[in-house]
Symmetry: C2
Subunit: 491 residues, 2 copies
Amino acid sequence: MADAAKTVKNAKTAITPTRAENFPEWYQQVIKATDMAENSAVRGCYIIKPYGFAIWENVQKHLGQMIKDEDVQNAYFPLLIPLSYIAKEAKHIDGFAKECAVVTHHRLSVNDKGELGPDKDSQLTEPMIIRPTSETIIGESMHNWVQSYRDLPLKLNQWCNVMRWEMRPRIFLRTAEFLWQEGHNAFATADEADADARRMLEVYRTFLEDYMAIPGIVGVKTPDERFPGAIETYTVEAFMQDGKALQACTSHNLGQTFAKSADIKFLDKDGTQKLAWTTSWGMSTRTIGGLIMMHGDDDGMIMPPRMAPYQVAILPFIKDDADTPAIMKACDEMRAALKSAGITAQIDKTEARSSDKMWAAIKKGVPVRLEIGARELAEGKVSFTRRDLGRDGKQVADIAAAPDMVKASLEQMHTDMLAGARARMDAQIHRINSLADLRAFFAAGTMGGVKIDYALIKGSAEYENIAKEFSLSTRCLPFDAPDQVIIAKSY
Amino acid sequence: MADAAKTVKNAKTAITPTRAENFPEWYQQVIKATDMAENSAVRGCYIIKPYGFAIWENVQKHLGQMIKDEDVQNAYFPLLIPLSYIAKEAKHIDGFAKECAVVTHHRLSVNDKGELGPDKDSQLTEPMIIRPTSETIIGESMHNWVQSYRDLPLKLNQWCNVMRWEMRPRIFLRTAEFLWQEGHNAFATADEADADARRMLEVYRTFLEDYMAIPGIVGVKTPDERFPGAIETYTVEAFMQDGKALQACTSHNLGQTFAKSADIKFLDKDGTQKLAWTTSWGMSTRTIGGLIMMHGDDDGMIMPPRMAPYQVAILPFIKDDADTPAIMKACDEMRAALKSAGITAQIDKTEARSSDKMWAAIKKGVPVRLEIGARELAEGKVSFTRRDLGRDGKQVADIAAAPDMVKASLEQMHTDMLAGARARMDAQIHRINSLADLRAFFAAGTMGGVKIDYALIKGSAEYENIAKEFSLSTRCLPFDAPDQVIIAKSY
């Protein structure tokens, strides 16, 4: 929140409150101002509106291709999971989440009082739950499909909705229903499974940096933070502008836990039956929440160019109605020229005032605003502004040269946003050397997280006290410093 | 089933039984042989395996773009619908389907007997149902979002899963859970809504012909076959090889039915409050079932080239192990050359015998098989075969010229498949002139459907008897002959 700290209190900003004043409320207001999503009448469930859903479509497109490039095949498994599958899994795994939507009837009927309700005669012999994740049901298929070492590796992925009955839902970040992709791979050996879990994490890290401009700390979870049943959980921990960590994705080495509960066995080359080794890995719509808290400012959202629903807002600035046809024609031509250059653009065709058009594009975080008015047309020029350079930084281009210049600007903007985010993250992680310093750091309300020798906190009752007092958790042991641990507040 | 009729009984075919012997069982066996989908442990729910899901991804890609080109925006609405929404809708609409999955609890717990089950303390105050379709919940959002005529038209679409508790499920054709897209548009006037419902039907017709090579009869449903609440339901009725009709998609003019129940009002230009007019339109995974029954033959599936998971099967034919490196190198190069030409290809790298590789590709319906062996390499040639030309029709091409020749073959194959399907359909629809002929047609077990003057069957008790006796229904009044009606058995 280095930028936010500079903001003079009560200065005019497009979003009220500012990040410094009230970060959680600022987050809600940005979602409202951008029109990305809103509450629904269903507790904990949200409506993802077109401007928010377009971001998810970009995740599906780009991350989807990267997953396919890893020779993973997309498929689709049932939404409902029989209770017996969960019971079987529960035997193997402590800490299984039991807050879930339970389906018990298959018909509605009108009762004696004339009220519509579940029909008593339609009660299911076996209740089913809406998938909170699909290890059990995909494990059942792997049990059927895997016979021999020739059937391995088996790499599957699905893009779908899942549901967990969250007690304190928060839009994008923690919702009852959410969208995600869940990958489920099976291997013949322990080494292959661990290498796969790490490789898929690297796919996520690359996607987060190259598309979302989100840097993070890449590492492994401490045992208490692992996915139930996993032998290792790998994560990318991103630091939001308020200093809290957000787990942007996870990749699990599940060892043989799920292979045991689903009985995934294969005949190996040596003629013996062996249990397979599995992994699972996922990224969800919660990452859109991270995108907002990573990149937004006090005027609204700033979209990283490769994730933006559209990259350029073309703003017709009309002072005299007589100019309208010529200006609109120039806007259409510019949109076509940008499209030819591989740039997505939208023309603001509303009757709003020029300044309102500008502010609408600013709040939505459109990467580049491009203005076309009568004066520009007369001079054969347009002016354009990068959203991340604040309210200034306007550039002027000859109309013919604009697409190439905008393209270069978008590329530079991505690079700058990633570098800026990385610099903020580096400033947010503080190396400390004692539990006393740990307490002092959070007691002082310092923004960010700490990096401390893992040996100092492992099994320490004093650490547990501090963690409880300040709502801290271990985020990961970084791959590049595995004897240390990152500790922070988190989403 | 003109082709099937020619098949000599007990001739060797890759699929047993043949279409002529037992069409429903042939359908199941093609799905098994192609590895498109399979049963799950959840009643009425199926697993769409990678080869089947790739077809759905092609629907999402191509139909998805066509929907966007209509200025429809994608969004995402909650899976669960509160019972009160359904009750409100039920008041307005007769015939509302009540077979649906009802969620009544939000937690699992272990009871006194040590069994896992719904936690009694977690019963929901208001039960919810898993969406069978989303008119009610999207209507609620339209109520919130539409204030003025400036907010119209409002055009929304979502790709999602829905659930209906089907009593007699059948893979792809009638399943408890299925995937679809559902579009929901709102307009200021009745005329715009009707034009929209017709335009979206035309989008479907174009998609079905241009991508799936499925021709159909385009028309409007009779009142008894309308979607509950619709004032008109438009449809494309495709005729399968066994002469039964399959509704490939529907587009509904909902009039003000849902605008009334959800209270979707707007302030019009004239200063008065008016109710909006809405449409909805959908295509689902059931269309994949139609693709199989339209195009498969007694050797398996025949994929229309634009919907195929991959268009070319590259088959390395290895007689001498010493040739393996050179042949595999040539296969990799061919795959790259095809990719450059915009053609998707997969190399069969299994250790199967050449004839087994060929039959695997035939059963899966890969549009073109391309063989590369030592002799071909020595001669600088490859041979390739179109799947739809039966077991013959092999062409030989210089290696460098192969991609262009394959591309032309794929284009021609689409054209031929569509023309063939249309000729079959035309032969399946018989113009008749009396109820006596109607009875005679179906009593004789004639394959296909009939076209008869609508006035002859409208309100006719005799027609109702015939329809009941032979399980017939009216499929549509064709746009090009609106005083006539198509009658057939159907899926």
